[in-house]
Amino acid sequence: MKPERDNISRETMVNPKKDNTLKGTLISVLLLGAFILISWFIVFAIFISR
């Protein structure tokens, strides 16, 4: 059993899985969060100034 498991892990290392990074998603959701916060604080500023 042991050598077979080694084979699998070596194969996985040699042929890494397809590109599944989600960096674009991370930046997109950060931008989304920034948009929400900026908009909220603009209206908050109006609220405070009135």
Binding site: K18, K23, G24, T25, V43
Partner: protein, 550 residues
Amino acid sequence: MMEKHLSISPKEARLVMAHMYVAFISLLVGGLMGLLQTFVRSGSFDLPFGIGYYQILTAHGVILALVLTTFFIIGFQFALMSKTVGISDKQRLSAWIGFWTMLIGTLLTAGTILTGKANVLYTFYAPLKAFPTFYIGLALVVVGSWIACFTNFRQLAVWKKTHKGEKSPLLAFMVVINMLLWYIATLGVAATVLIQFIPWSLGMVDTINVLVSRTLFWYFGHPLVYFWLLPAYMAWYAIIPKIIGGKIFSDALARLSFVLFLMFSIPVGFHHQLTEPGIDPLWKFIQVVLTFMVIIPSLLTAFSMFATFEMAGRSKGYTSLFGWIKALPWKDVRFFAPVVGMLAFIPAGTGGIINASHQMNQVIHNTIWVTGHFHLTVGTTVILTFFGISYWLIPSLTGRKLTKKINTLGIIQTIVWSVGMFIMSGSMHIAGLLGAPRRSAYSTYTGAEQVDTWIGYQLAQAIGGTILFIGIVLMVYIFFYMVLGAPKGKASFPIAEVSEEAEPTPQYLENWKLWIGITIALILFAYTIPFIDIIQHSPPGSEGFENLIR
């Protein structure tokens, strides 16, 4: 494991299409009313033939926000259930009974509005009083929708019996969550209509408890928004991935977000009543906190959509940071219309957070900002997704093809809609911040200086509204072309598979008793004490005012 999908029989297709006819005719009629309103508010148009502004405002709200949405959603959901868990002859019969009950109710209510006997707007706030058939019609619409609810529940229950131990199909799970949400929420509006409004409008009682009626309305009114939104989310989670050649990012995440919507979208109605006297501020605050909980599943959805798009793009070889955006099928209207809807949800959701922010609500309360807000949510995000659904649903039901010409026209329609809404909703948001009121007809307010700052934006609303009406005419043409004119053929009913890399869905996500139990507990927690307080400390009830506004 891959889900098996059933084919939709001609009898099932007829059922779904009956709902779609009502929805698209409503779009045309309700849209025309909206166009007329923007003209009146621009200050340069008077309604002919003695038609009243508040009459068309009521018609616009009821026909679009209640009739169009409910019929489209229930029809779409029957299609999803037929495709995933099937429908028996008995279930189809009960679905038809539900449809006819809703249609009779709709005609009764719409007829009352059009004869000028129900100028009470779609929120029908007491003490404005309509002719009894307005409320009886609404009650029938709700009862008809309950028949649809229980038909859907039965459909899944029967499937579960024959598929012991299997998790329910994702779309069927979502439909049942949405119908549970609808059923629990409509209990509030049914209570106020049956116990308060109908006896009052029939003259059986003289007065009405205004705050109780408004509280029961908003107990229903906020989850109503999610009843509109969740079918759009169904398409985003489970259908769009197939259209873009990708997979569902995570079945478990999709189910979790729907469960969270069920739990947190109902005990939040007080955020519509933040400036209302007679409700303990502590309970308003508690419901504001619960409202903010409902942001979580929307943010989960936003993350999930970006991840689905990025994974699909990268699997096609687009490996740069934002290269995956290029891989998306921008020229396919089945993707383009809903994705524009998704983008609109960014400012729409942000506006919603601002509206619900307790004291900050005073900045925008009862201003036309709020109208701008829900024209972005339901009037753009939801409706563009529904249009996106129609481009594959209608041809697949009518045995026709989505032609290149209609695809292009659909893309033009989406652009027209976006431009019109950007102008109309954008100017509503700005005018609202400047204090322009919502609901009211054109007025110079005896020449108040502040009014001058609004008028330019009110003209812009008329321009945006006109562009939107062109969009409506285009969409109604596209609908009837897909029903009657498109070449015969086979259109696909796209349902996506879950990504192989997604974690397996935990069993507990389908623990209905647990989720319904938590939902009821949260509702009881958020409403029991303040509601008893409202009843115990009520001022005297109000008499009704008929035709106070017209």
